[in-house]
């Protein structure tokens, strides 16, 4: 029975819960108050010699969304395949080992991913990029002049894909593990193969969680700073979809990390306003994920 009296345990738990809301309010208030002056800032006051806030924020928001979306494009199929394999195909011991490895992937610090991206992945991909550019250059994403260093938007997206894979895969995996045994047996008894059973019984059941896992991964990819800041070689104010060139749009988070140490006054305000924009985007993505998973319990 829950007691109505104010016990120390109850007070402590309530304080902890409300401190989350307080922290959120404090961050939001900070972003709004400190970022406000930048909205009216003019020529010569903003970082990177931007003419106004929109010129500064537009390309960065575009870059964030572009890189994160491409990351999910790669991460989602792999995450789905991983989850399906772990739940439906892998022998129990293999599933345990692979599941552990997946969790470890989530534990790698992002700065390590950045180092790996810049020292291993980028040089390794320069060759394939040149090939893609030469043979499939008519596709807008592969147009332009291929980067010799491999430090492109596509490389950044690939590093992000590896980083969000564990989160997305584990959300999908826990949903697949909850598929009712009765539905699975029903499909088998109809003469479904394993893959048909997955299509018939498992995927429809887990559909919402697959969307939600993607959204959570997208949110993580949008906010990721270190790995992108290290890997990407950015060009100021660029909005473009050529993924293989050495001229790439920067992302909000990476730009903040790169620019903040040398900013002051109104420049700092501008960076804080950018932080607010990023916060708004990730909030929207997370809310969408929440809303989608919420429907499931109906």
């Amino acid at each position: 029975m829950r007691s109505e009296t104010l016990t120390p345990q109850r007070a402590g738990a309530a304080a902890a819960a409300f401190s989350v809301v307080a922290a959120l309010a404090a961050v939001l208030g900070f972003l709004l108050i400190q970022g406000w002056p930048a909205l009216s800032a003019g020529l010569g006051e903003l970082p990177s010699h931007a003419e106004n806030m929109w010129q500064l924020a537009g390309p960065l928001v575009f870059g964030s969304v572009l890189v994160a979306a491409i990351a999910m494009l790669f991460a989602l199929p792999v995450a789905l395949g991983t989850a399906l394999y772990l739940v439906f195909y892998a022998p129990k011991r293999v599933a345990t080992v692979l599941g552990g490895a997946l969790d470890l992937l989530a534990a790698v610090p992002s700065v390590v991913y950045g180092l790996w991206g810049i020292m291993v992945l980028a040089p390794a991909l320069a060759g394939p990029y040149a090939w893609l550019n030469e043979n499939l250059g008519w596709i807008p994403f592969f147009a332009g002049e291929a980067s010799a260093t491999g430090r492109t938007a596509l490389t950044a997206a690939l590093v992000l894909a590896v980083m969000v894979l564990p989160l997305t895969a584990s959300v999908i995996r826990s949903a697949l593990a909850l598929v009712p045994e009765a539905s699975i047996e029903g499909a088998y008894a109809l003469g479904a193969t394993r893959w048909e059973t997955i299509k018939l019984a498992a995927l429809p059941f887990a559909r919402r969680s697959i969307v939600a896992g993607s959204m959570l991964g997208l949110g993580r990819a949008l906010g990721e700073t270190m790995a992108v800041a290290m890997v990407l070689s950015p060009t100021p104010f660029l909005i473009g979809i050529k993924l293989l060139t050495s001229e790439n749009p920067n992302t909000v988070a990476a730009y903040l990390a790169q620019t903040f140490p040398e900013s002051h006054g109104i420049e700092t305000s501008a960076l804080i306003a950018l932080g607010l924009a990023l916060f708004a985007i990730t909030c929207a993505v997370n809310s969408l994920a929440r809303w989608i998973t919420r429907e499931k319990t109906k």
Binding site: A182, G186, Y188, A189, L190, G191, A201, P204
Partner: protein, 279 residues
């Protein structure tokens, strides 16, 4: 004619022998009931008849099950193909929750024939639902979710789903144990109609149900005393004896026309079970 012939069948879960040495012939276009106390292996035996037993980790058999003379466990026989010829209905109704009534009925057909025309599909859905005595109740809401039906209707939807693929045999694993008496009666009447077209095998906990619907009844029992006797015998004969505490496997104790088995059981265990002395 015998539809199913079971020869020297042993069913295992890993090392555990669940059903031992079953030999029985199941005639076609009739209802055969498997009865017996919990743990007697009747459901396990049922699941060997469409190779669903091996879908459970460690599930395997020795021996033979033949459908129309063809060994279902022969080399090169695909269990997926077996399950299309031998359909199954489970204890708990399990329509696919995200699918409409219509989609549920043709789910099995869609697996093999993706390009079935709208007209053929409509006809098949109506025919199957009529065979399952469900058409009149749902014909005006075929696009609503199957999960929204009552328990008895869901179970009949599962029967419609099973007959839609036109199997030879329909296995039912305690199909009425979660249903109220009215829904149970509806299913029992349906079974009597289904046996005109299909060979029906039903596992039931309910002796009266077996007496009401079946043509022949098989009584299974995992007899601890007989098992102990046997293991002692095997040990003295030099075969490896089983570890202490091993549960005895289920055995086919008696198999006879239903009237005969209920009115004149030959085996004492059968008589004791039917008179409610155990189980």
């Amino acid at each position: 004619m015998n539809e199913l012939e079971i020869k020297d069948l042993n069913a295992y879960y890993g090392d555990f022998l669940a059903v031992s040495q079953v030999n029985m012939d199941i005639p076609d276009k009739s209802i055969t009931a498997f009865i017996g106390p919990s743990g007697c292996g009747k459901s396990t035996l049922l699941r060997t008849l469409n190779r669903m037993h091996e879908a459970v980790p460690g599930g395997r058999i020795t021996g033979e099950v033949a459908l129309e003379g063809q060994d279902l466990y022969g080399s090169g026989v695909d269990p997926v193909g077996v399950r299309r010829k031998v359909g199954m209905v489970f204890q708990k109704a399990n329509p696919f929750p995200s699918m409409s009534i219509y989609e549920n009925v043709i789910a099995g057909v869609r697996l093999r024939n993706k390009r079935i025309s709208r007209k053929d599909a409509d006809e098949l859905v109506e025919r199957s639902l009529r065979q399952a005595n469900l058409w009149d109740e749902v014909h005006d809401r075929l696009q609503t979710p199957g999960g929204a039906l009552s328990g008895g209707q869901q179970q009949r939807l599962c029967i419609a789903r099973a007959v839609a693929v036109e199997p030879k045999v329909i296995l039912l694993d305690e199909p009425c144990s979660a249903l109220d008496p009215v829904s149970t009666l509806a299913i029992e009447q349906l079974l009597l109609e289904l046996k005109e077209r299909y060979t029906v095998v039903i596992v039931t906990h309910n002796m009266q149900q077996a007496a009401r619907v079946s043509d022949q009844t098989a009584f299974f029992h995992a007899d601890a005393e007989a098992w102990a006797e046997l293991t002692r015998l095997e040990a003295t004969l030099g075969d490896k004896s089983l570890p202490q505490g091993t549960r005895p496997p289920g055995r086919l104790v008696e198999y006879a026309p239903t009237d005969e088995l209920f009115n004149n059981p030959r085996n004492k265990a059968t008589a004791d079970y039917l008179s409610g002395r155990f189980g």
